[in-house]
Structure formats: C-alpha cells, structure tokens
Symmetry: C2
Subunit: 113 residues, 2 copies
C-alpha cells in the first residue's frame, strides 16, 4: 500500500488540472517536456516543475533519448491511489455492515416490550 507520505505526494500531484492533463498525455504515449509545454499557457520551466512534482510522486518517470527526455507513466502508482480510495469506501461499507449487524442483533434479541 502507498506509505503515508507518498500518498500525500500522489494526491498533491493530482490536485492540479495541468498535472492531471500531463499525466493523461503521458498515458496516451510518451511525450517530451517541451512538446507537453506547447499545450499549456505557461513557460517550459513551469511545465518542468509540474513534471518534477509528478515524478516525485512516482506517477511518471523520465527516460533520456538523445537530447529529449521522454515522460512515461507509472500506472501502478495510479492504482495505489485508487486502492486507497477503495479502502475509504471499505470503511464506509464496514460501518454499514456494523449497522446491519446491530439491526440484526436488535431483531434477534428484540427490545423487550
């Protein structure tokens, strides 16, 4: 499971529309940084920083090819975030179950009339 501080980095990285889009583009196929930068109304350096945030979170890796740096996705990390949210929902469903048990128990022992 994602350790707590990586979870912090992953969700922080996802909390920005530009970074989410960069991730989508990388998922579609490897892109270099300046090609990515052409899609957004900001400097190349700003996009470099966004990629660095995604990389620190383990959501993408960079791979040199000649003078360019290809950004490609780490799907496993996306799944890690996915699983964390799944666990949150499991807590919720567990609570529902416990309520169900209580109701069943109530029904079994029945409130003395």
């Amino acid at each position: 499971m994602l350790p707590n501080d990586q979870a912090n980095r992953v969700f922080h990285a996802l909390a920005d529309a530009t970074r989410r889009d960069i991730l989508v583009r990388a998922l579609e196929g490897p892109r270099n940084v300046s090609a990515l930068a052409r899609r957004y109304p900001m400097s190349v350096a700003a996009v470099q920083k966004h990629v660095a945030v995604l990389e620190a979170a383990g959501l993408v890796s960079k791979q040199r090819r000649g003078r360019e740096q290809l950004v490609h996705p780490n799907v496993d990390t996306v799944r890690g975030a996915y699983r964390l949210l799944e666990q949150l929902e499991a807590v919720w469903l567990g609570r529902i179950d416990r309520i169900g048990e209580l109701l069943a128990a109530d029904h079994d022992t029945g409130p003395t009339p």
Copy 2:
C-alpha cells in the same frame, strides 16, 4: 463527473494525512470537531481548518446538534475521485488496446520481407 476545479479541491483535501484520517473517522461514524481535535497534535482551530477544507471539497458536511457540529462523510464525492482515477487507467488500457490493434494489423498485413 467531478468538474475540474472540484477535482482540484478533492485531491488537495486528500493530500494531507490528518485530513485523510479525519475522513476515515467520519466514515466510521459522525464526530464533532473537538473530539476529532483530541486525536491530533494540533489546536482545535487547526482541525477546524482541515474540516473546512474537506467541506469545501464536498467530502464531508457538517450538521449542528446542540452546541456541537457533527462531521459526516459524503461518500459520493469519494466515488467521484475514484471514477477519475478509473478514467486515467482507462486511457492507459485504451493505449494498450491500440498497441494490440497495431500488432494485429502488423500481423495481418505483415511487414513486407
């Protein structure tokens, strides 16, 4: 689907271990702010701010009961984030599919030897 700026708020809210824990406690059962605050090494006001961030993201709502304010979860918003990550994975799987198609096409037409 979550609008872009709500997605920003949701992932930002999840990018903090204290806030994720608050969400878990709320999922276990409604808690008031000062009961939550006792669990963390910080002031009540700090926890109030964390709850406000979760509330702005739509992850929890507050409901007054007498002098206390019960924090209870909005599971639908958790599922919204869930779905967004699902979509990311779908992009990835779509790419895999396209690669599969290409390979199949390569196999069909075959590279002329």
